[in-house]
Subunit: 297 residues, 2 copies
């Protein structure tokens, strides 16, 4: 498939993953239809589908058929969605709104939101275990192991735990970067490694894509923190100033606004450099960096 | 390995799975050690390890090496544990005690309990995806797919959803049996099918073991409901009379105490009959039925 620029590639990823999600998520049926409804409500909420984009574009670099990449993209998106559903719960971040709509526990109830999150996490692995995700079962197991590692107690969930600790003590720049690498970075890493894993490329290729993901994730986080400080709620489309309110250290609070912008620019350049061997195929992944640096929401 | 009677087989299963759990669960470390602590607290709580017993004994029938069965047993046990942790949450059953100890959200806090449950669910799939669980990746994928199906929105989680609906309306015997088959039966089915799956036996063998599991699960549930009505809290070691208090229909409320006992006996006989082809190898699985019929806690 020919390479797309960033905007059409994001659009392509959203359409592709939503088609796959429509197929793999259970249709509401039976006495337990409420769980199906809640899983779909949380999933079809108009997100940017950034992780599916990363999966599809990393797959493009290694000439992986879109059919396989689409399923890995669906798996990471339902996993990401579960993390949002649980994160929004009253005992966690206690958010009533997400993307302008009531959060799942508001639209349904808390128990249903807990179960819907559990169901989404479970189906992520079910999607990957199916032969439709790749003809080679070793590849499917590798994806499953990598996703479980990225999402588990030493990955994203570990990051959420560190985040809870962060509220109680002062973190330095190193600790903040570790937190971000776990909490949001791990799913980006999985997404970008999915391409080389599906292509059965070597560990060196996987490591290169992980480096790109790591840097891209840091830029994503720093610019998110910058938005939190500089944006208005209207532009960002969500509550802003939350980190400051909670007295939580971010790279912006440590480096200052200009220092953080500078840091983001440096890391962005390093991310782009990692893509060099892929030439034109990497155009969308490359364009993602300046997009993040200049985003307003 | 020679066949064991029920008591030594249960003891063997508990020791075997606990050794494996000790290895596969992360040791507490780093800024996020609290999540590791909570996962271990929930897991090492002195349960009966009934599901690991079913995995190990179903594996014995098909001459599966204990090393593989032990990992499948660990996977189902952490998955079962996650379901208890989330089930005990204030927004679900709101239980303060389990097996005489504070529940995970009481010993830690609600957010940690949500994350610990998520971490246990995630690691169940990580355990199965690892080559140590079986040399054939197709077998590992099959186990993962079967576990996800059993635990997901059309399995255990679906059952929990039906249970929430059950509190709002009247259920007949058929609906109650469906509920139980989903809510508690599905993990029993996975446990008993693990043996034939690990042995790469045919679908007929898998179906036979599923039939045993289905009937065994019904007997387990009916005797649990009977205990709820007839036992004292002291003997049962937990709160009793809960179903009656909540006005929830059970097979006991429909058939009466004697009728439910008679039903349990009939189903028990059918479960034992399913084991006939396995002769002496099935002694522990066979003895489980009269044990359930006469249990006092």
């Amino acid at each position: 498939m020919s390479s797309l620029g960033l905007a059409p590639a994001l659009d392509h990823a959203a359409r592709t993953v939503e088609q796959t999600l429509e197929v793999v998520l259970p249709k509401p049926h039976g006495l337990h239809s409420r769980i199906h409804d809640a899983m779909r409500y949380a999933t079809f909420a108009g997100g940017k589908r950034l992780r599916p984009f990363l999966v599809l574009e990393s797959a493009r670099l290694f000439d992986v058929p879109v059919a396989y990449a689409a399923r890995a993209a669906a798996a990471i998106e339902v996993l990401h969605t579960y993390s949002l559903v649980h994160d929004d719960l009253p005992c966690m971040d206690d958010d009533d709104l997400r993307r302008g709509r009531p959060t799942t526990h508001k639209a349904f109830d808390e128990a249903t939101a807990v179960l819907a999150g559990d169901g989404l996490l479970t189906i992520a692995f079910e999607i990957l275990a199916d032969a439709a995700s790749h003809p080679n079962a070793e590849v499917r197991c590798k994806l499953i192991a990598r996703l479980a590692e990225a999402a588990g107690a030493n990955g994203m969930i570990g990051g959420q735990m560190v985040d809870m600790v962060a509220a109680e003590r002062d973190f330095g720049a190193e600790e903040i970067m570790l937190l971000q690498r776990l909490k949001t970075g791990q799913l980006f890493e999985f997404s970008c490694e999915a391409g080389p894993i599906l292509a059965e490329a070597g560990l060196a290729e996987q490591e290169r894509m992980r480096q790109y993901a790591r840097d891209m994730g840091l830029v994503f986080q720093i610019t998110d923190d910058l938005l939190d400080v500089t944006s208005t709620a209207e532009k960002a489309g969500k509550a802003v100033g939350k980190d400051q309110d909670h007295g939580k250290a971010t790279l912006v609070s440590i480096y200052g606004i200009d220092g953080a912008r500078q840091k983001a620019k440096e890391i962005s350049d390093r991310a782009v450099a990692a893509l060099e061997p892929f030439g034109d195929k990497a155009v969308a992944l490359r364009e993602l960096l300046p997009f993040l640096l200049t985003r307003e929401s």
